[in-house]
Amino acid sequence: MTLESVREILRCSVLAGHDQLDTEVEVGCGADLMSDVLAFVKPNALLLTGLTTVQSVRTADVAEVKAIVYVRGKLPEKDAVELANERGIVLLAANLPMFEACGRLYMHGLPGGSELEKEASDATRAPLHTTV
C-alpha cells in the first residue's frame, strides 16, 4: 500500500515527507509502547501510534519503519518532526482513534505482522506439497 493511499483512507494531514508519499509499506503495526514496536515490528512497516515524542521517530528509524501515523488527533513534538525530516521518515496525522485507523487500513488490504510471517512460511513450504 502506498503512503498516498494511507493518507486518503485515513484522511491524514502530512507533517513530514510530503515528497515521499509514493513509498510502499508492506505491513501495519499499532502500538504505543516503543519497546513492543522494537520487539515485534517488521521492516518496511507503517506504525500507528499515540506516542508523540521524539522517541517515536527514533524507534521508526532504527526498526526500518517507513512512516508513522499519529492517531486520535495527536500531533508530534517539534523535535520529532525535525528528526523525521533529517532521517527520511514520513509523518502523518489522523483524527481517528487507534482501533478505527488500524481497522480501515486492514480492510483496505494492509496486512498485520503475523500474516506476513505466515505468507513467508507458506512460500518456503509450498514446494513440499507440490505433486508431480
Binding site: 504505543d32 509502547l33 516503543m34 519497546s35 513492543d36 522494537l38 520487539a39 521492516p43 501510534t49 506516542l51 515524542t53 521524539v54 522517541q55 517515536s56 527514533r58 524507534t59 528509524d61 532504527v62 526498526a63 526500518e64 523535535d79 532521517r87
Partner: protein
Amino acid sequence: MQPEPLFTQRFEIEGKDFRNAGKASATVKTILREIGLPPAIVRRAAIAAYEAEMNVVLYARKGTLELKVSPSEIRMMFEDQGAGIADIGLAMQEGYSTASEEIREMGFGAGMGLPNIKKNSDLFRIDSSVGRGTVLDITIRV
C-alpha cells in the same frame, strides 16, 4: 581469538537526556550502512543498540558504548554507571520491568528491552552489580 577491528568508535551516553536518547544508535546505524553491511544485519544491530542506549538513558547516570566492527562481526559494549540489576534472570524475562510511570509514558518499560537485545544478538553477555552498574556485551556476526 578476537578479530582485528576495522573500525572502532566510542560514544558517551548521558542519563536522563531524553532529547538526545537514540542519537548514538542512529550514528551506529549510519556507520554500518556506509560500511556496506547487509540491511538485515544493520537493522538487528540498530535495534539492539537502541534498546541498550535507552536502558542507559532511562536507568543510569551515564554510560559509554564502544563499537567495534571487524570483517566477521559487530561488537557493541555498553558500560553504565547506574543502579545495577538485582536479579538478572528476572530482568531477562519478557514483560518483567521495574520502570517508573514516567518511563512508561515515554513508551518504554514494557519489559521487552533485554530479551529483545538478546534476540537480535548472536552472542550476548550481561554483568551487573547493584549500586555500580551494568555491562552489556553484544556480538552480531556478519
